[in-house]
């Protein structure tokens, strides 16, 4: 189990490093898919089986299709050497944001989670054995969180209308 965690975590970090260092945007996108697959494997190790399946389906599938379309839309060829300077403003901002994220992670590492969000040992295993991965997630989603679920459809509706308005302004 520990070996699997280190394997997939290391593969995810390696793939994301390759993603941000490739010259060709398409090979960056392919490495990003590899990263997302490895993160899905980490979700499996955390017993979040449904989340892992959705991660592959939505992120590695649909969102990556969107990324590839954006690459085709913007016609990003391979970057010529010297085209991306070492210190552009966006890189500095990205570097600072990354440092901020790292600091947050270091703070979180030493923080003790409150009891309210900590499950007693064996609860997850019991749920898995009794109800299965999908059911233990789906029953609260559709029963206790009925209203948020229905509001999600309004959110998706807003996304549909927004996409059409942005892309088809001249209709």
């Amino acid at each position: 189990m520990t070996f699997a965690f280190w394997f997939f975590a290391g593969a995810a970090i390696l793939a994301s490093f390759l993603c941000i260092t490739r010259r060709s945007p398409v090979s960056s996108a392919l490495w990003l898919i590899t990263t997302l697959f490895n993160v899905a494997a980490l979700f499996v190790l955390l017993d979040a089986h449904f989340l892992a399946a959705v991660q592959v389906l939505v992120y590695a599938g649909a969102i990556m299709v969107l990324f590839l379309f954006v690459i085709m839309l913007l016609n990003l060829g391979d970057a010529a050497p010297g085209e991306n300077p070492r210190w552009s403003p966006s890189r500095v901002v990205g570097f600072l944001a990354g440092l901020g994220l790292l600091a947050e992670l270091l703070v979180l590492r030493s923080a003790v989670p409150p009891d309210a969000i900590r499950l007693p040992p064996g609860v997850v295993a019991g749920e898995m054995a009794g109800h299965g991965a999908v059911q233990s997630l789906a029953v609260p989603l559709f029963q206790a969180y009925l209203v948020p679920f229905e509001i999600t459809s309004l959110m998706l509706l807003a996304a549909i209308v927004g996409a059409v308005v942005l892309a088809k302004r001249r209709l």
């Binding site: 299709v65 969107l66 954006v70 913007l74 459809s153 998706l156 996409a163 059409v164």
Partner: protein, 124 residues
């Protein structure tokens, strides 16, 4: 629980091995005698014109965005399909589960009708 992922692992290994074998063996055993004509990109027999690295139209992007939205709708349907018989909503039993998803889908059908009427699915 993790044992149930062994078939998935076997599938991935099989895919990687067979893909590597297809590329590697054909590279090893094929004779490579390129000519100018053979090196052309294959365009179904038509002489190629222009480059493949053209900017694509924004309507491809629109289709991709709409695909994602309806993909996420289906993601919600999967856990619902597993559990809707056990749901107890407003004391209606199975009907409650059906009505819940019907309300969800009706809102998205409104979006679908909007997309259709707006002509966003027309290609030209």
């Amino acid at each position: 629980m993790l044992e149930s992922y062994v078939p998935l692992l076997m599938l991935m290994v099989l895919v990687i091995v067979s893909a590597a074998a297809m590329v590697g063996l054909s590279h090893l055993f094929s004779a490579s005698r390129p000519t100018a004509v053979k090196s052309q990109p294959y365009e179904s027999g038509i002489p190629p014109f222009g480059t493949a690295r053209e900017r694509f139209e924004v309507k491809f992007y629109l289709v991709a965005v709409l695909f994602i939205v309806f993909d996420i709708e289906v993601v919600f349907m999967m856990p619902w399909a597993v559990t809707f018989r056990q749901l107890d909503i407003l004391g209606l039993g199975v009907l409650g589960g059906l009505l819940e998803m019907a309300a969800f889908v009706v809102v998205l059908v409104v979006g679908y009708v909007y997309v259709w009427k707006r002509g966003a699915l027309e290609w030209t």
